[in-house]
Subunit: 195 residues, 2 copies
C-alpha cells in the first residue's frame, strides 16, 4: 500500500462553490493532489489511499480519506473531484469515520490523531530532505506534504517528531501534486524492477 | 529551452463552457498539461514553451502557443487555464500567429506545419520508448505526446518519421500531464547536476 497525506493549511472545511475552487482555501490544489495520487491512464491506483487534513475555515480540523480501491464515480478533473470533496464536507464530522460517496469518508481529526491511527511509516516530503532516488525502502509508507502555503509551525513540529524519513523529489521547489507524481514514479520503477 | 507539444485528438477548436471542460474534447487534460508544463511552486518556468495541436470540432486543426517567459495572469487551476484557452479560440486562426492574451497566440497549423516551423529536436513520448533516465542529451527538445485518446494514426505516422528520440517516463501507462512532470524532473535533475 501507498498513502499520501496532504495538509491543506487554509482549505475549506464546509461545502464550497465549484466555480471558485481557488477561493475555497486553494481547494484546487487539494483536488490536483487527489488526482495525482489516484489516477493513472484510464484507471485508478487500487493500492493507494489519500488522506486530507483540512485546516481552513469554518470548521477545522477535518480529515477526509479516499480509498483508491473503493472510490467510484471519480474523474481526474478538478471540478469532479471538488464535487466529491464538497459532498464529504456536508457530512457531520465526528470521532468515527463516516462515509460520504463510495470510497470517501470524513472524521474530526488533528494531525497527531491521524498519525496515531494510521500504521504507516511516515515520510515527510520537503525541500531539505534526502533525494528520494537515494533512499532505500519507502514501501508501505505515508507520504506527508503541505500545500502552497507550506506547513504551519505547529504541524511541522509534530511531523518532525514523527517522521521516519525526510525526503525530497526535485532540486526545484514544486507544487504539491507534482511531488506526488514523482513519488509514485520512483516507487513504480522500483516495483517494476522487482517483478 | 524546453518545449512540449500536446496533441488533443478531440479537443475543442471553438470557445467552450468552463463548467464542462471534460465535455469540450477533454479540455481538462489539455489544461492540466499546460499547468504541469509551466508551473513550479509560486512561479512559472520562463524557459519552457507549450504548444497545443487541437483536432476536435468544430474548426480543426488549430495550434496554440503559450510562452512561459511572457504569459501573464495564469494560475495553475484548470478553470483559469481553460479561460485563457477559450479566449485564444475566439481569435480568428490563420497562417500568421495571432496574439490572444499575453504570451498566448493561435494559428492554423497541422502537425507537419508545426514541426517544420519549430527548430527543436523532436522527442516522441510513448510507452514503448527508451527509459528517459537512460537517454543522454534531451536538451532543447520538443517533447510530443497525445492526450487520453492516444494519437490518431495519421499523426503517429508523421511523428514516427520526424522523431529524433522515442522516450518513455514510467513502467506504467500514465496521464499526459503526469508524463510532462516526469520529463521536467529528469531535466531539472540533470541541470542541477551540471551547475
Amino acid at each position: 500500500m501507498r498513502a499520501f497525506l496532504v495538509v491543506g493549511s487554509q482549505a475549506a472545511t464546509a461545502p464550497f462553490n465549484l466555480n471558485g475552487l481557488t477561493n475555497a482555501g486553494r481547494m484546487d490544489i487539494i483536488c490536483r493532489c487527489i488526482a495525482q495520487s489516484l489516477f493513472v491512464s484510464h484507471g485508478v491506483r487500487d493500492d493507494t489511499d489519500i488522506y486530507l487534513l483540512l485546516l481552513g475555515p469554518p470548521d477545522p480540523p477535518k480529515a477526509v480519506h479516499i480509498s483508491g480501491s473503493t472510490v467510484r464515480y471519480m474523474g481526474p478533473d478538478e471540478r469532479n473531484i471538488g464535487g466529491i470533496i464538497r459532498k464529504a464536507l456536508d457530512v457531520d464530522a465526528g470521532e468515527p469515520w463516516r462515509g460520504s460517496t463510495p470510497g470517501v469518508s470524513v472524521a474530526r481529526r488533528d494531525l497527531s490523531g491521524l498519525l496515531d491511527e494510521l500504521s504507516y511509516e511516515v515520510v515527510f516530503l520537503h525541500e531539505d530532505g534526502d533525494d528520494i532516488r537515494a533512499v532505500d525502502g519507502l514501501k508501505d509508507c505515508l507520504f506527508v506534504l503541505g500545500d502552497h502555503g507550506g506547513l504551519p509551525p505547529s504541524i511541522r513540529i509534530v511531523l518532525e517528531g514523527q517522521a521516519d524519513h525526510d525526503v525530497t523529489v526535485s532540486p526545484l521547489s514544486l507544487q504539491a501534486d507534482q511531488c506526488i507524481t514523482l513519488v509514485h514514479n520512483e516507487l513504480d520503477r522500483r516495483h517494476a524492477g522487482e517483478v
